[in-house]
Amino acid sequence: MMLLPCPWCGPRHAGEFRFHGAAGTRPDPATTTPEQWRRYLYVHDNPRGWQTESWYHSAGCRRFLTVERNTLTHEVRSARDTQLDAAPNAAEDAR
């Protein structure tokens, strides 16, 4: 299995992670229509090539990572801590 470059733990065997798929956006539950909601539930990009997706380093730092990965070659272009992206001032020592 490929190596995933965890921004915290360094390159680790992909078996240490759990794949959570392409991240979708949650519609506002107050106003959503069934069509919108079920798109969110069931329809995800399925590209043959680069995809931005979510991985959980369950056997390591236990952080959710946002990973750009090529679904054909398994090359990884970037891997970032999802939360640090969302809240940039949470910490400065993410390597």
């Binding site: 798929g21 079920r38 798109r39 995800h44 043959r48």
Partner: protein
């Protein structure tokens, strides 16, 4: 059902008989060719790619070819092309572990797959091509009470649909498969199993070739090395498509491309709840036949059968992440070996010869997506995941009817694309989620 071929007939249970149109492998021809060892006709011919067809089927797997066969044979459609980017059977149809069964969980599923098994039972005669369907029986082992409960559930639903299934205990299991460790002291003790006698294995390539040959005999053009690169849609209607070998005008397009199907639907602007995951398989060197039954363990994620050549064919569950790679992984072979030895410890000196992978189009409810789409003239027969080979015949029959009549026949009415937006999932995953 419109029938322009004078020879097309269907017997009482809907099973189609051999057509005189199909060049036969009769005893006479066999003798003649056997002695001369030459002069077998081509199983299917090569044709020029026309710029117009009445229907174009994308994907030369069992689904695409079977649909073409029944469309031409039973519905008299004339100008049909099957476009295949590589060689026929290069997708899942050429790389699956060839297990056939109908012991599903939902009534819709059981009925559907049972029809397919019936068609398989007569497929060799129908196609005049021995697909070697070996109905050796199929065992799904239960290692905990939750999966035993699911086995009972499936059994009861099966029986109500007239499908032969029963739950058996460790003693019977041991008799059927003496190599299984049925003692209680193992890490994953075998508590029971769902035994399904009609299940078995088939020579998968032969099914593909038999349908290709049959379709050809009914005038279908099979174009290998022909990749669809775009689909032309105007005013919500299919007009034609583009390929690496030129454009084709057509009012009807069927997407039967399994692992690639969301890419193809995307070309027509149709979104589908499909994710592509690799599924791996492996084969050992041959040993003398000792395993007469297909053995599956959901808890241990492994299935095993022995072919008539003596190899063991292994499969597991899909890879843990989405991918279009069919390179395979070491973890798969390690896992398979560990789990097989857990079940059958005596096999530790058998050698794994080769591993491979194929792409699976997974849907949220582990049921297929079949029928029309919002784009008029654009049909799909996808979402076959890890289980679609067994559905080839019934899908071909049903999709042919769907295309000919413009609406899905009853047997696939539960599997429409619209069920997701409507929240009407067909819970084959219900079994998966409970039984792991």
């Amino acid at each position: 059902m419109s029938t322009s071929h004078g020879t097309a007939r269907t017997n009482g249970n809907g099973h189609a008989r051999t057509r005189s149109g199909l060049r036969g492998y009769s005893a006479w021809s066999l003798l003649r060719h056997g002695l001369s060892r030459s002069g077998w006709p081509r199983a299917w011919r090569e044709h020029e790619l026309r710029d117009r067809y009445d229907a174009v089927i994308i994907g030369g797997g069992v689904h695409g070819l079977a649909t073409a066969y029944y469309l031409a044979r039973d519905h008299g459609m004339r100008h049909i092309a099957v476009l295949e980017r590589a060689y026929v059977g290069s997708g899942g149809s050429g790389r699956n572990t060839a297990i056939l069964r109908s012991n599903y969980l939902t009534p819709e599923g059981v009925r559907f797959y049972d029809r397919s098994i019936q068609l398989y039972e007569h497929l060799a005669a129908d196609l005049n091509f021995n697909v070697m369907f070996s109905q050796r029986g199929h065992l799904t082992l239960a290692h905990n009470d939750a999966s035993l409960r699911t086995m009972r559930w499936r059994t009861e639903v099966n029986k109500l649909q007239g499908v032969d299934s029963e739950v058996i205990g460790p003693d019977r299991i041991g008799e059927l498969v003496p190599y299984l460790d049925t003692s209680a002291e193992t890490r994953y003790p075998i508590l029971g199993a769902l035994y399904h006698p009609p299940g078995g294995i088939v020579r998968h390539d032969a099914v593909v070739w038999g349908y290709a040959r049959g379709a050809d005999a009914h005038g279908v053009h099979i174009h290998q090395q022909t990749e669809v690169t775009g689909i032309d849609v105007e005013h919500g209607r299919v007009r034609g498509l583009r390929t690496n070998r030129g454009r084709i005008a057509t009012p009807v397009v069927l997407n039967a491309t399994a692992g690639w199907s969301s890419l193809v639907s995307h070309q027509a602007g149709v979104e589908m709840p499909v994710q592509t995951f690799p599924l791996q398989a492996a084969v050992t060197e041959p040993v003398r036949p000792f395993l007469d039954t297909v053995v599956v363990s959901g808890t241990l994620h492994v299935y095993v059968s022995q072919t008539d050549r003596g190899e063991l064919v292994f499969g597991a569950s899909v890879d843990p992440f989405a991918s279009y790679s069919i390179r395979g992984s070491l973890e798969f072979t390690e896992g398979i070996a560990g789990h097989v030895l857990e079940l059958m410890p005596a096999l530790h000196r058998m050698r794994l010869l080769r591993q491979w992978a194929g792409l699976c189009d997974m849907t949220p409810d582990y049921s297929p997506i079949m029928g029309p789409t919002p784009v008029e003239g654009f049909y799909v027969d996808v979402g076959w995941g890890t289980y679609g080979f067994k559905a080839g015949p019934v899908s071909g029959e049903a999709m042919a009817a769907c295309i000919a009549d413009g609406k899905p026949p009853e047997i696939i009415s539960a599997f429409g694309l619209d069920r997701f937006a409507d929240g009407r999932l067909v819970g084959e995953k219900g079994a998966a989620a409970v039984g792991h």
